[in-house]
């Protein structure tokens, strides 16, 4: 038999039918929905007079536009309230399980899916949200879809999808202290640009990936979309199985041991071929920050902003427009640049490990007076863990406030907006113009770099705050 990649194995196992010269009809094992990208899909079902085909395979949460303060009160913004209410109605009408606002299991869709044990190796998973790629950390084909496709899945549990090409990214070597999974993925994106993996599905391999925790792997897969990839995945291994075993429940699993035996088959054959192969050496990676308005515009924290080479007029005017928006100039160094906000959270870095890492640096210190910090857990469960481990106390002693779970300042659909012209060091995934509020200036970074910025009030090297004990792997 022809050797296959992990991606091929899962994809081929889910093709209901291949249309000649057309896309595949792909069966979807698990579908997550949220309030913002689902209402029009349910309207479509209504117009067609049909019900959800397999309601037991769709799970819902409210996360994108919900407030992170006083969640027990009615949502003030009328449109957001309508969306959240519409989601509840639709779930009730169609028999879909909902982890809505104030539900003890509520949280960001890509944080709760894994922690509630719904995301399982070998699955096909979709959601009307581009960061669905996060779930690839478990050895799944998981990717974001548009609302028309949400409607397809609700109606038939399938979507029409052309099969993407395959890329393998291998990272070997030794990681420096203070370099986290966020830095690894930001480094890769800065190397290959925001369109560098467009058309591909990426498999991440190598000794560095093997050594990472599940949370760190999720951070890597999460940002696959920021280099244009359809998604990213990592073959499941003992780290994955140990993670699954410690979960309080695995709703789809009757016998975990036999499932683990099946999951062990989930790997690329040794001779499988990829359409593109990239390799990176971990020792060339340093703590990263972005300086522009897309995640490809990233650099090591102590570097200077590149002087753009004038490829063509369009490219250089876009580059300068971007730096202008940020209030930066080509050639400038950003270390020591004053900042105004710090945001810790999102589906990229809103998991318990991220808050532990942040706390390691914050413990016993005080935040800078000029900094406003938003600390937003990715889920209720993360919030509970933070409280149980005493992290919230550490934050409060340092002068921070902790909010309630949600997407919050990652896309600023609620009140958590960064004011115009202000600089925010953010652990989220997008530094697009206006992403964190109209005119907001986002600098993406790891939780460690964000912690260093919170203490000093400036862009600072996290390595200066680290000692032997807090050499965390995340």
């Amino acid at each position: 038999m022809k050797p296959k990649t992990l991606f091929d194995k899962i994809w081929d196992g889910h093709v209901v039918r291949s249309i000649e010269d057309g896309p595949d009809v792909l069966y979807i094992d698990l579908h997550y929905i949220h309030e913002v990208t689902s209402p029009q899909a349910f309207n479509g079902l209504k117009e067609r007079g049909i019900q959800v085909f397999r309601p037991g395979k769709t799970f819902a949460t409210a996360d994108h536009n919900i407030p992170t303060k006083d969640q027990h009160l009615q949502i003030r913004d009328e449109l957001s309230r309508t969306q959240v209410e519409r989601l509840s109605e639709n779930c009730r009408k169609h028999g879909i399980e909902l982890f809505g606002l104030n539900h003890p299991k509520n949280g960001i869709v890509h944080v709760i899916g894994p922690e509630l044990g719904y995301t399982l190796p070998g699955m096909t998973i979709v959601c009307g949200d581009s960061h669905t790629s996060t779930h690839g950390a478990f050895g799944t084909i998981a990717f974001g879809i548009g609302t028309s496709e949400v409607e397809m899945v609700l109606a038939t549990q399938c979507i029409l999808q052309p099969k993407p090409k395959k890329m393998r990214i291998t990272i070997n070597g030794n990681l420096h202290k203070g370099v986290t999974s966020k830095d690894i993925i930001m480094y890769i994106i800065s190397e290959i640009s925001t369109g560098g993996a467009t058309g591909y599905f990426v498999e991440y391999c190598g000794s560095v990936i093997k050594s990472l925790s599940m949370e760190a792997r999720m951070t890597i897969c999460n940002m696959s979309i920021e280099m244009g990839a359809r998604g990213g995945l990592i073959a499941p291994d003992e780290t994955t199985f140990d993670y699954m075993k410690q979960l309080p429940s695995l709703p789809g699993i009757a016998d975990l041991e036999s499932s683990v035996n099946q999951w062990k088959k989930l790997k690329s054959d040794p001779d499988a071929s990829f359409d593109r192969e990239l390799e990176f050496d971990a020792s060339s990676i340093n703590p990263m920050i972005t300086y522009g308005t897309n995640p490809g515009m990233g650099m090591a924290i102590d570097e200077s902003i590149p002087i753009a080479e004038n490829k063509n007029k369009e490219a250089s005017s876009s580059y300068l427009k971007s730096l202008d928006y940020m209030g930066f100039r080509p050639g400038m160094k950003l270390l020591g640049h004053a900042i105004d906000y710090v945001f810790i959270g999102s589906c990229t870095n809103g998991r318990i490990e991220d808050f532990r890492a942040f706390a390691q640096i914050i413990r016993g210190r005080k935040k800078a007076a000029n900094v406003t910090a938003l600390i937003v857990p990715g889920s209720k469960k993360v919030e509970e863990q933070m409280a149980a481990e005493g992290l919230i106390e550490i934050y409060i002693n340092a002068g921070f406030k902790v909010r309630q779970p949600g997407c919050s300042s990652c896309l600023a659909m609620n009140d958590d907006k960064i004011p115009e012209g202000k600089y925010a060091v953010s652990t989220s995934n997008r530094n697009f113009e206006g992403r964190q509020g109209p005119g907001a200036r986002t600098i993406l970074a790891s939780p460690l770099t964000a912690a260093a910025a919170a203490i000093t009030g400036r862009i600072s090297d996290p390595r200066e705050f680290m000692n032997e004990e807090n050499n965390l792997k995340l």
Binding site: G13, G22, C158, S318, L411, G434
Partner: protein, 200 residues
């Protein structure tokens, strides 16, 4: 889905010569709180189109009466970022029927085709040439023929054959709908569920 049929389009163009225009620019997140598909065109490129005080920004191309048309000529890597289909609804609702670029993000491409908006990939040199032509003469027209898969700049007769998935082409030409197609496959889908193996 809007069941619009689409075969030949001849139109002037609106130029937007920036690289990496993401869906947050096309439609900012704060306008996503609607529960229907209509009306997003008003907020298309909102933060470029209006000043902070809510007035029209006369420097932005959509506010320049010189440039009109059903074809948006964008820069390289258009539509990256969020999977929000609202971006496509906004472009369609505003009145565009095709977007031209040298490179599109994947999800944006799918979303466009699922809504009767045609994304056309042309070589970078031609894109730059077209941008310049439109700037010089806003009356420059292009012709798009889906049946023949050709994209032609009428005054210069530059013409290329663009790629489109044959299935999607059929859908556009006939105004067919993916969901009707999938619904017609229910038996095959149920059959798959019964015989599903773990991996292949």
């Amino acid at each position: 889905m809007p069941k619009v049929k689409f075969s030949i389009l001849e139109s002037t163009c609106v130029p937007l010569p920036f690289e990496n225009v993401d869906t947050d620019q096309i439609i900012p997140a704060r306008f996503l709180s609607a529960t229907s598909r209509e009306g997003f065109g008003d907020n298309l490129f909102r933060d470029w189109r209006y000043t902070k005080t809510g007035e029209k920004n006369s420097e932005f191309v959509l506010n320049n009466p010189k440039f009109r048309g059903k074809v948006l000529v964008a820069g390289k890597n258009f539509g990256s970022g969020s999977s929000r289909e609202h971006a496509v609804w906004a472009i369609f609702d505003y009145g565009f029927r095709a977007v031209v670029s040298s490179f599109f993000a994947d999800i944006f491409m799918n979303n466009s085709l699922n809504n009767g908006l045609l994304p056309i990939v042309i070589p970078e040199e031609l894109l730059i040439k077209l941008q310049e032509l439109i700037q010089k003469n806003p009356a420059t027209k292009v012709k798009i023929d889906i049946e023949k898969q050709t994209f032609t700049i009428i005054p210069t007769k530059d013409s290329i054959r663009f790629a489109i998935n044959p299935y999607k082409k059929e859908c556009l030409l006939k105004g067919l709908d993916d969901i009707d197609f999938l619904l017609s496959m229910k038996n095959a889908i149920t059959g798959y569920e019964i015989n599903k193996s773990f991996v292949k």
